[in-house]
């Protein structure tokens, strides 16, 4: 198997996700099935082919570098799950002791 529980745990850490032991088993099976499925990619001959990254052929147009402002502080706070009158609140990052 390409993906084992250890790999799932490593990818979960990178994804900022956590899974219960049962979920880990399930997702290991899922990921292996999906990787088997996408393995068909290797049958295409891509020798000398450049990866396609940008879909639009036109060159991007740069806008003028002008200060136009965006949203107010109150608006920025509007959808924050925890906040006070001025700031978004987060749990303590550094513990003193």
């Amino acid at each position: 198997m390409a993906v084992d529980i250890k790999t799932v745990e490593r990818i979960a850490t990178l994804s900022k996700l956590e899974f219960s032991e049962t979920e880990k088993q399930e997702i290991t099976v899922d990921m292996n099935r999906m990787l088997d499925f996408v393995a068909q990619l290797s049958t295409a001959d891509t020798e000398g082919v450049k990866p396609l990254i940008y879909m639009l052929e036109e060159e991007a147009e740069l806008r003028k570098d002008e200060v136009i402002g965006s949203i107010t502080q109150q608006d920025a706070l509007k959808n924050a799950p925890e906040k006070d009158s001025d700031f978004i609140k987060v749990p303590k990052v550094i513990n003193k002791d």
């Binding site: 994804s15 899974f19 990921m31 082919v49």
Partner: protein, 485 residues
């Protein structure tokens, strides 16, 4: 109130004051309430829709109404509308209210369309049956034991059940066309870069495109013309002039087209014999009409869906990194520190399919696998795009079924993800190549459920696509065939 079949016939009644926008809004809100069991809408915008209706009625009286006056339209729950909630049908964004409107919404409102509500979809548009939604599945209005398709299932159902005149959805790998096929509606995915994605919740940014569900091709042309075009808020949108899709909807009338089809699509092992039979029948009829229809080789059948899944999950894992439980959206109450705020909020806020895709996407982007999966898929994408474009050097259109079968039963495919991914077998090519594609309601199965025929054309050829689509629907829609018989 009578049912309306096109925007133009609503506008005729509005101009003669036989009906008002206020009455239309009331009528559709009532219908939505009556048909709540379909679960097409997450929320209706009663207050803003009614207020907009009063405004548009006044404009009609003054003779100043926009081209979409009287259009009652729904938007998918991943399209921003200032001061209104949207959630991508995820627990992660429950209660989130948009601070701004997407470009498409701005343009609809400017032309006096009325936005009636937001429609249910697969969570973060990830799914092909609308069963991954936090708000539960959408039922197919034509048979409530069946799915409406996905991910824009609510959008499709809202039009099919006549809960509004048209809907905006988004299509990353078939999310407009497959539900259109399942519900007997017209579903258009424009060229990548034709319509601004500003204000669309991102899933796969190099694939996502906003498009329409309508009851007829004319309305698709009219609405697409309004929402398309350059936009300073989206650097991936084209600056090419938008052609007059609606006014020149008859530009292809009586013109003979060169049409290609792929044997590996029409004779795919997963295709329902009825869908195959009808596709071949339409190919034959097109030939009888004098069009040139040829079988053409396509070498990447086995690679298109894998390419699509590697690239979209990679893009999704990156796009969905912004949901951290801090700035907006769901925050876990079980967290004890910053790290666990991220991890627990994401793990509790995202549903199973979304987590599955974030995991695969992170895997294919991780050190050691990046070249084997991600870069490889980008290379195959170039091959698919180039070989698709080569077909268009000799042909105007590619014809195929939209989906291998009619709508399936609710819960039937929920646990078989690979089977679910193969739902997109005919639709992902257009997203990989960035070309426009439309699903036209031309088939009915013995289960009495509709299915669509898909037309694809080269990039930025929406005008030709829409015009030819109208010809095809006029000639081959089953009702018009019955009328002729």
């Amino acid at each position: 109130m009578k049912g309306f079949t096109s925007l133009k016939n609503i506008q005729k009644d509005l101009q003669s004051y036989t009906v008002t926008c206020v009455e239309l809004v009331e009528h559709y809100l009532d219908r939505i309430k009556d048909q709540k069991d379909i679960n097409a809408f997450v929320e209706t915008f009663d207050v803003s829709a009614s207020a907009q209706a009063v405004l548009v009625d006044a404009k009609i009286k003054e003779g100043k109404a926009g081209v979409l006056a009287g259009l009652i339209i729904s938007i998918k729950d991943n399209i921003c509308y200032e001061g209104h909630k949207l959630s991508a049908s995820s627990k992660m964004l429950e209660g989130f209210e948009s601070l701004y409107s997407s470009t498409v919404v701005e343009r609809l409102l400017k032309e006096d369309a009325i936005i009636i509500g937001r429609t249910n979809c697969d969570e973060f548009a990830m799914g092909s049956s609308n069963e991954t939604s936090f708000y539960g599945p959408v039922k197919n209005p034509l048979d409530k034991n069946k799915v409406a398709g996905g991910s824009s299932g609510g959008a499709a159902a809202s039009v099919a059940a006549d809960l509004c005149m048209a809907a905006l959805g988004s299509d990353t790998g078939g999310s407009i066309r497959q539900p259109a096929s399942f519900t007997g509606t017209v579903g258009l995915k424009p060229t990548y870069g034709r319509v601004s994605r500003h204000g669309l919740i991102a899933f796969g940014s190099s694939f996502d495109q906003i498009g329409t569900f309508t009851k007829n091709v004319d309305d698709a042309a009219l609405i697409t013309e309004v929402i398309a075009g350059k936009d300073e808020f989206d650097s991936t949108v084209s600056r090419k002039e938008v052609e007059p899709y609606f006014e020149e909807i008859d530009s292809q009338k009586d013109k003979k087209q060169r049409i290609a089809y792929f044997d590996c699509y029409v004779n795919h092992k997963a295709i329902d014999p009825e869908v195959r039979k009808r596709t071949i029948e339409i190919i034959e009829k097109l030939r009888l009409e004098g069009h040139q229809v040829d079988e053409v080789k396509f070498d990447y059948l086995d690679q298109i869906v894998p390419t699509y899944y590697v690239l979209t999950t990679a893009e999704a894992s990156s796009n969905l990194a912004r949901y951290d439980g801090i700035h907006f959206g769901y925050r876990s109450t079980n967290a004890t520190d910053l790290e666990s705020t991220y991890v627990k909020s994401r793990s509790e806020g995202f549903g199973r399919e979304v987590k599955r895709r974030i995991m695969l996407g992170t895997y294919v982007l991780s050190a050691g696998y990046y070249d084997a999966y991600y870069t490889k898929a980008q290379k195959v994408r170039r091959l698919v795009r180039d070989c698709t474009n080569e077909v268009f050097e000799n042909y105007d259109f590619i014809i195929s079924p939209t989906s291998p079968h009619t709508a399936f039963d609710l819960n039937a495919q929920k646990d078989d993800q690979i089977k679910m991914y193969l739902e997109d077998i005919y639709t992902v090519q257009a997203n990989l190549a960035g070309i426009p594609a439309i699903s036209l309601p031309l088939g009915i199965g013995s289960d009495k459920m509709p299915f669509g025929i898909q037309l694809m054309t080269s990039a930025f050829n929406e005008k030709k696509l829409l015009s030819f689509s109208k010809q095809v629907v006029n000639k081959f829609a089953l009702t018009s065939e019955l009328e002729k018989a």
